[in-house]
């Protein structure tokens, strides 16, 4: 049962990325690449990178990738999938890209059941721009723009994307994973695989939300960030499959 070797997937380029020590993006990029290799879809995959720390994702994946304006990946993905329905199209978005500026685009792409896959990385802060509050920042959580802690009456409540999107008839597979320990990582990879298979089978819109570490944005060491995500974040954003139809 034990694999005889663990080596980097083909869909990951040799480039060393510049993510911070302990950043979840590195793990998640690899999971996406592994799934694409295992499903043998590399040659027909087109990915869309976000605005955020993962803006350079096109330098790390070895398949066709485009940038998109902030929040717009689901609309760009729609524009690709509608004219090339046999290609595998996915977006990779952070909490600002998807849940702040891109809320209209994600809801409507989900509502239309666009046959695309969305990888949603939720680390509760805006890492690239130095750690501001994100829509998913917890109440009381201190960030660059909530130095005294997020307050409900001023800043609103953390957004629960999986729960929100599950209500729409157009969504066919919604799951939330985390990348804090090997068990979670393996579970998250299985969700990502299921999501891409949904698309391959033309079943409609799929999204995997992944709770991730942003040690820099959270002002924690990598191990402290892992602990916080695993213990605090999963309490508010429960892991699991929310929808599979």
């Amino acid at each position: 049962m034990t694999p005889t070797k663990f080596v980097k997937p083909k869909s990951l380029k040799q480039t060393h990325h510049s993510y911070c020590p302990g950043c979840g993006h590195g793990i998640i990029h690899r999971l996406v690449a592994e799934v694409i290799d295992e499903l043998n879809i590399r040659e027909k995959t087109i990915g869309i990178a976000p605005v955020g720390c993962a803006v350079f994702a096109y330098d790390y994946w070895d398949f066709d990738v485009s940038e998109a304006p902030h929040g717009r990946p689901p609309a760009v993905a729609t524009g690709i999938k509608r004219v090339l329905p046999d290609r595998i199209v996915f977006t990779y978005q952070g909490d600002g890209d998807l849940a702040a500026i891109g809320t209209a685009e994600i809801i409507h792409a989900a509502n239309r059941s666009e046959n695309i896959t969305v990888i949603f990385v939720n680390n509760t802060v805006y890492g690239m721009t130095s750690g501001q509050m994100a829509p998913t920042t917890l109440l009381g959580q201190k960030t660059l723009t909530t130095p005294y802690g997020r307050e409900a009456n001023r800043d609103g409540y953390p957004l629960k994307v999986c729960e929100l999107l599950s209500v729409l008839d157009g969504t066919k597979f919604i799951a939330r994973g985390a990348v804090t320990n090997p068990k979670n990582v393996i579970q998250t990879k299985s969700y990502i695989k299921k999501a891409f298979i949904k698309q391959i089978e033309n079943k409609g819109f799929s999204l995997v939300e992944i709770l991730s570490m942003c040690p820099s944005g959270l002002h924690m060491t990598p191990l402290e960030a892992v602990k916080w995500v695993e213990e605090e974040l999963t309490k508010f954003f429960p892991l699991g499959v929310y929808k599979d139809v």
Binding site: T2, P3, G26
Partner: protein
């Protein structure tokens, strides 16, 4: 009497690009990964294997490494 030969594994770590996050260290069930005092050219302390013979090839270090620095092969 039957004897089982323990499988041996080779663990390769790209120390030059290690950022010392220690995600592999805390997840190794054999506790054979440590963050040394050595520093690579980027200024990070990096991880080394202290006893490769104890590796069971579970791959948890590979699974957790955000920088794809670890490769594990069966000897």
């Amino acid at each position: 009497m039957t004897t089982t030969t323990k499988k041996l594994f080779v663990v390769k770590i790209d120390k030059e690009h290690c950022k010392g996050c220690e995600l592999c260290v805390v997840n190794c069930p054999q506790k054979i990964l440590v963050l040394t005092e050595n520093v690579n050219k980027f200024g990070y302390r990096y991880v080394e294997v202290i006893d490769e013979t104890k590796c069971i090839g579970c791959g948890r270090c590979y699974i957790m490494c955000p920088d794809y620095l670890i490769e594990i092969y069966e000897k």
